[in-house]
């Protein structure tokens, strides 16, 4: 399972890439593998306010629906509209083209609540 070193992670398998005050978020390769073929995503709405670990999106795969949680609080600046017709991008490129939203962070210190790559990898090992 790929776990890029430059990202931070939640226990619920979301990732965050921080660039200054902004962050791009998505779900990890492990998460997309567990979900299976993704068929639909209910994206966050631009200008919505997200709370850390509050529900940000809903992803449906062939057999189930899963809530996706915001790694940090903030305002949604962009949602990856390409996923509306091609949600499979999340399976194919979970850290790249499968990004879910861009957030303007409310409180940078929240990043310290998240796991780094090593901690997330250890977390994955515990799960199996």
């Amino acid at each position: 399972m790929r776990v890029p070193k430059d990202l931070k992670y939640t226990k619920t398998h979301e990732w965050i890439r921080v660039k200054g005050k902004e962050a791009v978020v998505g779900i990890t390769e492990y998460a997309q593998s567990e979900l299976g073929d993704i068929t639909f995503i209910e994206l966050p709405v631009v200008n919505d306010d997200l709370a850390q670990l509050g529900r940000m999106a809903v992803i449906e795969s062939v057999k189930a629906a899963s809530d996706i949680y915001a790694p940090v609080s903030g305002k949604v600046i962009a949602a990856n509209e390409a996923l509306q017709n091609h949600p499979e991008k999340i399976n194919e490129s979970p850290y790249g083209d499968g990004w879910i939203a861009r957030i303007e962070m409310k409180d940078q210190s929240e990043i310290h609540d998240l796991m780094d790559a090593d901690a997330y990898e250890a977390h994955l090992e515990e799960l199996d």
Binding site: G36, D37, T39, F40, E42, E60, V62, K63, A65, P87, E88, N91
Partner: protein, 366 residues
């Protein structure tokens, strides 16, 4: 049947699925492959080329004797007395009220021998029901554990079979017919039947030969293994019911819109009740629906039309061909027509959908 530590059965092909990296899940008391590479890819592979399915978990019964034909004819809804040897038919095992005990396929092996192929989850129930209702001279044998079944389905399935060295099925087997063939020294019952909506075959062989047959067919580069996840999306697009979801003991073949598999001019279990339903009509009917978008409904969602609750979703999922949610539901008769707009609600969602005829996907020509 081998049992693992959780009491779950394994088909003869279990080891092959694990080696192939399949995700295994419990189904009808067996550990089965739900997917190998991905449900959508496996679904499209079957629609466009050819796929291989492990269906060893299903049940097979042999019913033999001079009265076997009459006994079977009294238990199933489809007509049996005019079948020819080498023919098979889809029908239902019904109870005294006409409720569906199981859906099955009846194979006429000879004038005194019939094979019934039943669902895995209902095998014990069916065996009990059938054996209790046979004439004294008729024998019942549950041969499921010794019988393996592998489905080969898709537009290229016959091409693959014809490429097997020494394979000869004579003329092309017609739909709902079967014959015996020899594949690498193994005697295989080959039927032109299936659950995907595509041209395809079911191959029955002794359990001890299952791995060899599986390996031989997967040896063709074009053939890919397909899991239960895609088996479900394929049958849903084709509009085929799944026992325990779309059909059950509380539903009759008539409500399910499947009265063409009921032969009313004979006496069989539940026939009086079914004739009454045919004559008086049923309050509800099963139909297929297609959702407005990619979002799927789920089983047990409520169906509304004309501003009120009119039914329930019994099967639902995603259609890889249509790229929309689809499913089957029972609705009050007046809302069961093609084009009827309905709304599916559950889990905080409200999904617009339309009643459609089956199959809901566009079949390839030819």
């Amino acid at each position: 049947m081998e049992l693992d530590s959780k009491g779950l059965g394994r088909t003869p092909l279990y080891g092959r699925h694990v080696e192939a990296g399949a995700r295994m899940v419990p189904f009808a008391g067996y550990l089965m492959p739900v997917q190998y590479s991905g449900i959508i890819g496996e679904h499209l592979q079957t629609r466009e080329k050819v796929g291989l399915f492990d269906t060893c978990h299903m049940g097979e019964f042999l019913i033999r004797g001079p009265a076997a034909e009459a006994d079977v004819d009294r238990l199933v809804t489809c007509r049996v007395d005019d079948m020819s040897v080498g023919q098979c038919r889809y029908g239902f095992l019904t109870n005294t009220s006409g409720g569906i005990i199981d859906d099955l396929i009846v194979f006429k092996m000879s004038t005194e021998e019939y094979m019934l192929v039943v669902n895995a989850g209902t095998r014990e129930k069916d065996a009990g029901w059938i054996s209790r209702h046979l004439s004294t001279g008729t024998s019942f044998c549950d041969v499921s554990d010794g019988t393996a079944k592998i489905d080969l389905q898709g537009p290229d399935s016959m091409k693959i079979l014809s490429e097997i060295p020494g394979f000869d099925a004579g003329d092309t087997i017609k739909r709902f017919h079967f014959t015996f063939v020899e594949i690498e020294g193994v005697r295989v019952l080959l039927s032109r039947t299936g659950y995907t909506g595509e041209v395809g075959y079911e191959l029955f062989c002794p359990s001890r030969e299952a791995v060899r047959l599986w390996d031989l067919l997967l040896g063709f580069e074009e053939v890919k293994p397909i899991g239960l996840g895609a088996r479900d999306t394929l049958r849903l697009e084709a509009g085929y019911p799944l026992y325990g979801h779309d059909i059950c003991e509380d539903r009759s073949p008539i409500e399910a819109g499947l009265e063409r598999f009921v032969y009313f001019d004979k006496n069989f279990m539940g026939c009086e009740s079914l004739r009454r339903q045919r004559d008086d009509g049923c309050r509800q009917e099963m139909t297929a629906f297609v959702c407005e978008g990619r979002r799927s409904a789920r089983e047990q969602f409520s169906v509304s039309a004309g501003g009120r609750a009119v039914g329930t979703v019994t099967s639902a999922g995603f259609s890889p061909c249509l790229k929309r949610g689809i499913g089957l539901c029972y609705v009050d008769k007046e809302f069961a027509s093609k084009g009827q707009e309905i709304s599916l609600s559950g889990a905080g969602l409200k999904i617009p959908a339309v009643v459609e005829q089956t199959p809901v996907y566009k079949k390839r020509a030819g």
